[in-house]
């Protein structure tokens, strides 16, 4: 960081370069990206000022989490159906951690994976909830509709990267580059009056979720904000490197790299200074847990929110390895244990910082997996279950849309009324409904929700109701 004057000047120059080039390119290529930017800018009134703090933390489970082994029907009748479909992948009912679901359950009982004691604790104390059988959809889709060649379906079902993109985009389309977290930040970043860092913070590098039309995430690691060695403030080499960033570059690749390098030079020491100014967390995060390391850093950034002048933030963290085609019984317990332990510690940290009601953490994963096995693992499927937590969550409940059986939780039979031959579940709730519920809570107005999530109107409810 040199001076605030030079910082704002550089930001201005970089943004100006971007906008000018974008405008030129837009003449020839005014795609969806350009249209969204316009709609956000022109269609809806700007958000009113706020003085509270709220943040969303997206925990992306890369590879396709087998979430019908995350939450499992544990009453005898339905567990028997589950066990038959899952074969060798089935979990014993007795091994599950029981969920204490409030309200009527029609005699249904549920438990979570044996390694998810933390999630059960969060759920049972009212800080956690599940959203059931959610997936990418363009319209409500029954099994009969799925078989109808004229019924619109999301492109490239069962493909990792396409389904990741669609979950992160907030619409079941494969094109474009932005994500709904980024589009939310485009809309809400003006609430961070006086902030010198982007509203979006990534603990996982580039990701589509946080890519906005104008706001892009700042990437840091679980160790903090990376610093450039041997380029002290005011040194001739730092001035030279800053000059190379700021000079005019004739091609867009170099400009793009220069923007990232410029942002790194700009933000890294300010962020680290803000982190250093907050006391260390007393909450102990589990060791040897990469997700916990990332979430611990998110907690520290949240603790520094006043220094950062942040009133709304969007975080992205991830855990990979969920593509359990083989050795699922070996690998899934560790993955889910990592998730559960990390989330439980993060929840404690939010209490410690005093932001428990202000931070909502939620999982996403590109798809769940086939209910039947390939012998020692499972293959790509479609609808799955997600976990949300935080003080604002109306916990101890399952959320979703009743399927063919009239219940939120689908029948786990192969080739059943809501499933394909191998037990790929047809989602009854759209990922867009899930996302829009979260975005609304963060402060996105109705008008903007319709722009960010254009397919939302095709579903009966824009708000799944799991947040206050």
């Amino acid at each position: 960081m040199t001076t605030s004057h030079s910082r704002s000047r550089r930001l201005f120059l970089r943004n100006a370069t971007c906008l000018t080039a974008g405008a030129v390119a837009g003449g020839a290529w005014l795609g969806r990206f350009g249209l969204i930017g316009q709609a956000l800018a022109q269609g809806c009134p700007p958000p009113g000022a706020v003085d509270d703090y709220r943040a969303l933390v997206c925990v992306f489970l890369f590879g396709g989490n087998d979430s019908f082994n995350l939450i499992v029907p544990s009453d005898a009748a339905r567990h028997a159906v589950y066990a038959t479909s899952r074969g060798a992948m089935a979990l014993d009912a007795a091994s599950l951690h029981a969920l204490d679901v409030t309200g009527g359950t029609n005699g249904h009982a549920y438990g979570v994976h044996p390694r998810c004691a933390g999630l059960a604790e969060l759920f049972n104390r009212g800080d956690g909830a599940f959203v059931v059988n959610a997936g990418t959809l363009l319209e409500p889709t029954t099994k009969a509709a799925y078989a109808d060649p004229d019924h619109p379906l999301p492109p490239q079902l069962f493909s990792h990267n396409d389904q990741q993109a669609q979950w992160q985009y907030g619409r079941a389309e494969a094109n474009g580059s932005v994500g709904w977290g980024g589009l939310v930040a485009d809309r809400l970043h003006v609430l961070n009056v006086g902030a010198s860092l982007p509203m979006s913070i990534s603990l996982n590098g580039q990701n589509r979720f946080q890519a906005g039309a104008t706001v892009q995430p700042y990437a840091m690691s679980g160790a903090g904000a990376a610093q450039l060695v041997d380029y002290p403030d005011g040194s001739v080499q730092r001035q030279a490197l800053e000059a190379l960033v700021e000079q005019a570059h004739p091609d867009p690749l170099t400009r793009s790299y220069a923007r990232t390098l410029g942002n790194a030079l700009e933000y890294s020491r300010f962020m680290q200074g803000a982190l250093d100014a907050v006391p260390p967390l007393a909450t102990v995060f589990p060791g040897d847990n990469s997700l916990a390391t990332s979430l611990a850093m998110v907690a520290r950034v949240i603790a520094a929110r006043t220094t950062l002048a942040a009133r709304r933030q969007v975080f992205f963290v991830s855990l990979g390895g969920f593509d359990t085609h083989a050795d699922q019984l070996d690998e899934q317990p560790d993955l889910l244990g990592t998730l559960s332990d990390a989330l439980l510690a993060f929840d404690a940290a939010m209490h410690e910082i005093g932001t428990h009601g202000a931070v909502t953490t939620f999982t996403m994963s590109e798809f769940a997996r086939t209910l039947n096995s390939d012998g020692n693992g499972t293959d790509h499927a479609w609808g799955g279950n997600q976990f949300v937590m935080g003080g604002a969550v109306r916990g101890q409940r399952l959320y979703g849309t009743p399927g063919a059986n009239g219940d939120i939780f689908p029948d786990l039979v192969l080739d059943g009324p809501d499933s394909l031959a191998r037990g790929q579940m047809i989602p009854s709730t759209a990922s867009d409904q899930y996302a829009a519920t979260l975005a609304r809570w963060l402060g996105v107005a109705e008008c903007d929700l319709a722009t960010i999530f254009p397919y939302l109107a095709t579903f009966p409810r824009a708000n799944l109701g799991f947040l206050d």
Binding site: P155, Q237, R259
Partner: protein
């Protein structure tokens, strides 16, 4: 460069060749109709620019050699060199560590040695590119315990880059179909995509064959998700929608094709750990008793360009090797393969956003070289490097041509240009993680980055992809720069350099430290093939002048590092 002025430029280059090259050096010029640029680089800068694409970084010796023999002969010589291999040495490390796995150290040491000093630079660079298409990673599927099979697969890539002679002296051309077969039979890929010991569905147990390889071999290694014209543009249906190349039904059929494969020593053998044997890396066997024997309806090519609708069915009760060869042949024969593979290889060598015509030219080479051989990897890469667009940029959109340098190739370029070496002869745990590019160490089968990555902002608005920028963020620009700083601080001749540390030979730069313009010009020539912009030169000259004249090493190191960290060096054009 427009079409109209190409001939005059061609002749001026040819004149330079005739004037300055030894007799015979240019006799390959215009040997066939495809090659339309003069055959020897007209300057060190042109040679270095080519070598930045074709090697792990230009150095003085290669620049001189390329200028002496011309592009085509250089390529032919390179591809006729024997492949520098990994597995034989990794195997020794594995054997020495039995019953424990030795980790990745030996494999990663040899990778760096071959990248920096391998005489077969082009083969190594092609292997590196292929390893980013047919992706395996030690981070998954227990491959961390099996570096021998990873190394053998890498050697498969290196061999296919130009072909190889077997133990009987017979030559094997490196074709795509041969490569696809060898990849499919490799234990490393079988573990990576979990089809090792894949079994037919069992109606009693309610199981189905594993679909992992079936899906990814189609999506990532061969045809992609949607039908393509030869120039890679999508084939559209009447509603203007891209047409999927396959459905879940074909995935299910291919999952059944890929049943029955296991180690050569028996279906349930496991030649690792205390039982380690060469079977752990040798081609898999297909076990008839474990193979799904029902008929299989494969891809149908429906809707693809210039082929009549074809229906490929593997009849029931075929021998499993016959099923496997037939199934792979149908994949390799799909019209999508040429544009799909051509475009990705172009992206790895020359430009992220090739013109459709460039892709179509390379796809045509893929579909049949001069000898009518389909998918010859060496011929395809040669055409990629020699194409007008590669040599002269994208005529219609000069600012579009180029690619972000792969972060790891910044390190290899530095090492090669300044003859990096350690006294103990090892490279010793290079900090690959700082570049987010550990060889055969991507996070998943989706590689370090996607060929379709659209960086948000200006590039996405212009529909320009930039795969390498997917691993460029505020954290990684600094982690890479910091490792490069570590390298720049270590120089041969320094008293502080430990025998185990890799040092750079910066002695050619030191005499220039007193002359800022000369030093910067040399850095430009060494690392940026003379393409440094005037403003960047001016900035660097001011930097050098502002550093103490009495400390030439500081001037050299500081200015060198600023180049390595700069936006202009980050992009290869």
């Amino acid at each position: 460069m427009t079409a109209a002025n190409t001939p005059s430029r061609r002749w001026s280059l040819l004149f330079l060749v005739c004037a300055c090259m030894p007799a015979g050096a240019h006799d390959l010029v215009f040997r066939d109709g495809f090659q339309r640029v003069a055959d020897a680089p007209g300057s060190d800068a042109e040679a270095a620019r080519f070598l930045a694409m074709a090697t792990f970084g230009p150095n003085a010796a290669d620049v001189a050699r390329l200028r002496a023999v011309g592009y085509r002969q250089w390529i032919e010589q390179q591809l006729s060199l024997p492949a520098s291999l990994q597995r034989p040495e990794v195997e020794q490390a594995v054997i020495a560590a039995i019953p424990n796995p030795p980790g990745q150290l030996a494999r990663l040491e040899i990778w760096m040695r071959n990248a920096v000093t391998g005489p077969d630079q082009l083969r190594q660079r092609i292997a590196w590119a292929l390893s980013q298409v047919f992706v395996t990673t030690y981070l998954q599927s227990k491959l961390n315990a099996d570096p021998g099979s990873l190394a053998e697969l890498y050697d498969t890539f290196t061999r296919h880059a130009g072909g190889w002679f077997d133990a009987d002296g017979a030559f094997h051309p490196g074709t795509y179909e041969s490569l696809l077969g060898d990849v499919t039979r490799s234990p490393a890929m079988a573990k990576m995509l979990t089809y090792l010991r894949n079994r037919p569905g069992d109606p009693v147990l309610g199981t189905s064959p594993d679909e992992n390889y079936a899906r990814e071999v189609l999506q990532l290694f061969s045809i992609g998700l949607v039908l393509r014209h030869p120039d890679f543009s999508p084939v559209l249906d009447r509603a203007g929608i891209p047409i999927p190349t396959y459905t879940q039904a074909e995935i299910g059929a291919y999952a059944r094709v890929f049943t029955g494969l296991s180690y050569v020593g028996g279906f349930n053998s496991n030649p690792l750990g205390a039982n380690w044997s060469p079977a752990s890396y040798q081609p898999l066997t297909c076990y008839a008793g474990r193979h799904d024997r029902a008929s299989k309806v494969l891809l149908d090519y429906a809707g693809a360009d210039a082929v009549p609708p074809q229906h490929f069915v593997l009849p029931e009760d075929q021998a499993c090797e016959t099923d496997l060869a037939g199934g792979l042949g149908v994949i390799a024969g799909h019209p999508n393969v040429a544009p799909f593979i051509a475009r990705q290889l172009i992206q790895r060598f020359t430009t992220s956003n090739p013109s459709p015509a460039y892709v179509a030219r390379i796809a045509a080479v893929f579909d049949g070289d001069a000898a009518g051989r389909r998918g010859d990897i060496g011929a395809v890469v040669s055409a990629i490097l020699l194409d007008d667009e590669a040599r002269q940029g994208t005529a219609a959109a000069p600012a579009v041509f180029g690619k972000a340098r792969e972060p790891l190739l910044k390190l290899t370029a530095l090492y090669r240009r300044y003859d990096a070496r350690a006294q103990n002869g090892l490279y010793g745990r290079p900090n690959y993680a700082a570049y987010l590019q550990t060889p055969q160490g991507a996070p998943s089968v989706f590689n370090y980055y996607s060929p379709d990555y659209l960086p948000p902002g200006e590039l996405a608005a212009a529909h320009l992809v930039a795969p390498e920028l997917q691993i460029v963020n505020e954290s990684s620009v600094f982690s890479a720069a910091n490792d490069l700083m570590t390298q720049v601080r270590r120089t041969i001749g320094s008293a502080n350099l430990k025998p185990t540390q890799v040092g750079l030979d910066l002695s050619p730069l030191l005499p220039l430290a007193g002359n800022p313009a000369a030093l910067v010009a040399r850095l430009d020539a060494d690392l940026m093939y003379g393409a440094m912009s005037a403003p960047m030169r001016a900035t660097l000259e001011s930097l050098v002048a502002a550093l103490p004249a009495g400390d030439p090493m500081r001037r050299v190191r500081t200015s060198l590092h600023v180049v390595l960290a700069s936006p202009e060096f980050a992009v290869q054009k």
